[in-house]
């Protein structure tokens, strides 16, 4: 009788031992999850700040000798985003192998905000949508061998979809700048194209469908601005640059 009771207390450690491993495993997972959530918040904040910076730079009157003021703004944006890339480089081991998809829900919000900021800078420099591969390249070490964090099509598209909102702000805020009216018309066409392109992809990505509604609203806002420009200038039979000059003079006088 004593003997069996001893056996019983020997059997117990097996379960305990087993669950010890599980505990370590779960704690490890939760700790990593926490680290990624915190890092993702930092990345989101840095990216948002970059977007504000880009708006600020885009609004400044360019120096007279500046051939491509957008490029200058973009450079400063890229510079600031290097901080984000640094964070990702440090996270590499947390996101290696199958871990990216395991923690995707924690990582995506920051990643999408980063792509939004990066694509904004890219648009200011080139006037185009940043290609998938180029986004990927910014998340690699300098030799272009190791990917800090894998890029999913969904994150890429959702980040770009947010870009249209920033472009709307950029276009409308810039209207009072010299050349801003022409820029607004350009952005209007660009965003209209984006919306059409995303339309065909949206059945595949749940969140993109929702974001398309926001894009449609942004587009309408730009269209309304472009309309206001057109309707007002149509009263005068003068080329737009001349109109700009007349207005500028009446203010600076």
């Amino acid at each position: 009788l004593m003997a069996t009771s001893t056996t019983a207390s020997v059997a117990l450690p097996t379960v305990t031992h087993l669950f010890d491993d599980f505990r370590a495993d779960l704690d490890d997972h939760n700790d990593r999850r926490e680290r990624l959530i915190k890092a993702s918040r930092d990345i989101t904040n840095l990216s948002k700040k970059t977007i504000f910076l880009l708006h600020r730079l885009a609004l400044e009157q360019p120096a007279a000798d500046d051939q491509n003021p957008g490029k200058r703004a973009a450079q400063q944006g890229y510079e600031k985003l290097r901080e984000v890339q640094n964070i990702y480089s440090k996270l590499q081991s947390e996101l290696v192998g199958d871990r990216f998809w395991r923690y995707q829900r924690q990582v995506s919000p920051g990643l999408q905000e980063y792509i939004e900021a990066l694509s904004f800078a890219h648009y200011l420099e080139h006037g185009t949508l940043i290609p998938f591969d180029e986004v990927q390249k910014t998340l690699m070490d300098s030799e272009g061998v190791e990917q800090y964090v894998p890029l999913s099509v969904s994150d890429y598209l959702l980040g770009l979809s947010d870009l249209t909102g920033e472009l709307m702000r950029f276009a409308i805020s810039g209207i009072s700048r010299r050349g801003g009216r022409a820029k607004a018309v350009e952005v209007c066409a660009f965003v209209r194209g984006c919306k059409a392109d995303f339309e065909r992809m949206s059945p595949y990505i749940r969140d993109l469908r929702k974001k398309q509604i926001v894009t449609a609203q942004s587009l309408e806002k730009i269209e309304d601005a472009a309309y206001a420009i057109a309707v007002r200038s149509s009263e005068y039979d003068l080329p737009p640059e001349l109109l700009d000059d007349i207005v500028a003079q009446s203010i600076s006088n």
């Binding site: 018309v185 066409a189 209209r192 919306k195 059409a196 392109d197 339309e199 065909r200 949206s202 059945p203 309408e220 269209e223 309304d224 472009a226 309309y227 420009i229 057109a230 309707v231 149509s234 009263e235």
Partner: protein, 224 residues
């Protein structure tokens, strides 16, 4: 006791429905692709000058007509009498298709696509009626989408220098709205969307105002 005959029979019924749903879903995906293509192309009306419009509309027509493949397939797949059972699966896509058809009709002929024309264009035949038909609610939803789109077009036409378009749109939309206001809509989505039409009308009126104030075009007086 639920004997195995019963179980088998019931399982047969349940599984037939599962399979049916799969088949319908495939067709709806097909229809969805078509409507998205059409919407993508029709999006260009906002930046297309009047003379290039016919060619643009022409480029959409083949896709529109190809929707007949889907309605035909659905009319074969849906069991007799079960139209109303499954229709929620495709109403959204179908409404978009009818919207596209109505937009093309307006831009081509300045005319309102009728319910029967819409059904005909999309290949929904009278004889399908217990498996595939175009309910009046869906048709009306499409017309509301048409007004939403035309109010945007009124704006963009002016941007493109086409000052007559808003005036034509204004007349068309007001007639349509008068028609709608004679309908006895109950308190549902359709009613809410109809109520929102007044914002579109206001927007169009403001465009007409801007254009006529500046004498860029003048609305012809009409008999009230």
């Amino acid at each position: 006791k639920m004997d195995s005959d019963q179980v088998e029979k019931i399982n047969g019924l349940l599984e037939r429905d599962v399979e049916l749903r799969e088949n319908i879903k495939d067709q709806v995906n097909e229809l969805d692709k078509k409507t998205r293509t059409m919407v993508g192309l029709l999006n260009k009306i906002h930046s297309t000058p009047p003379d290039a419009l016919p060619a643009l509309l022409e480029s959409v027509r083949p896709t529109l007509l190809s929707c007949r493949d889907v309605t035909g397939a659905l009319s074969t797949i849906i069991p007799p009498n079960q139209f109303w059972r499954w229709k929620d699966m495709w109403s959204n896509s179908m409404r978009t298709a009818v919207f596209a058809a109505a937009l093309i009709e307006y831009l081509s002929n300045r005319a309102l696509l009728s319910l029967s024309q819409a059904a005909e264009l999309l290949g929904i035949k009278e004889e399908f009626s217990d498996r595939m038909t175009l309910p009046v609610e869906d048709y009306l939803h499409s017309l509301i989408s048409l007004v939403n789109e035309l109010s945007r077009l009124a704006v963009n036409a002016v941007t493109l220098g086409n000052f007559e378009e808003p005036i034509r749109i204004s007349m068309f939309v007001k007639d349509l709205f008068a028609g709608f206001s004679m309908l006895n809509l109950k308190n549902d989505t359709l009613r809410r969307r109809y109520d929102s039409l007044k914002y579109d009308i206001k927007k169009i009126e403001e465009v007409v105002y801007d254009v006529s104030l500046r004498k860029l075009a003048s609305p012809s007086p009409r008999p009230s």
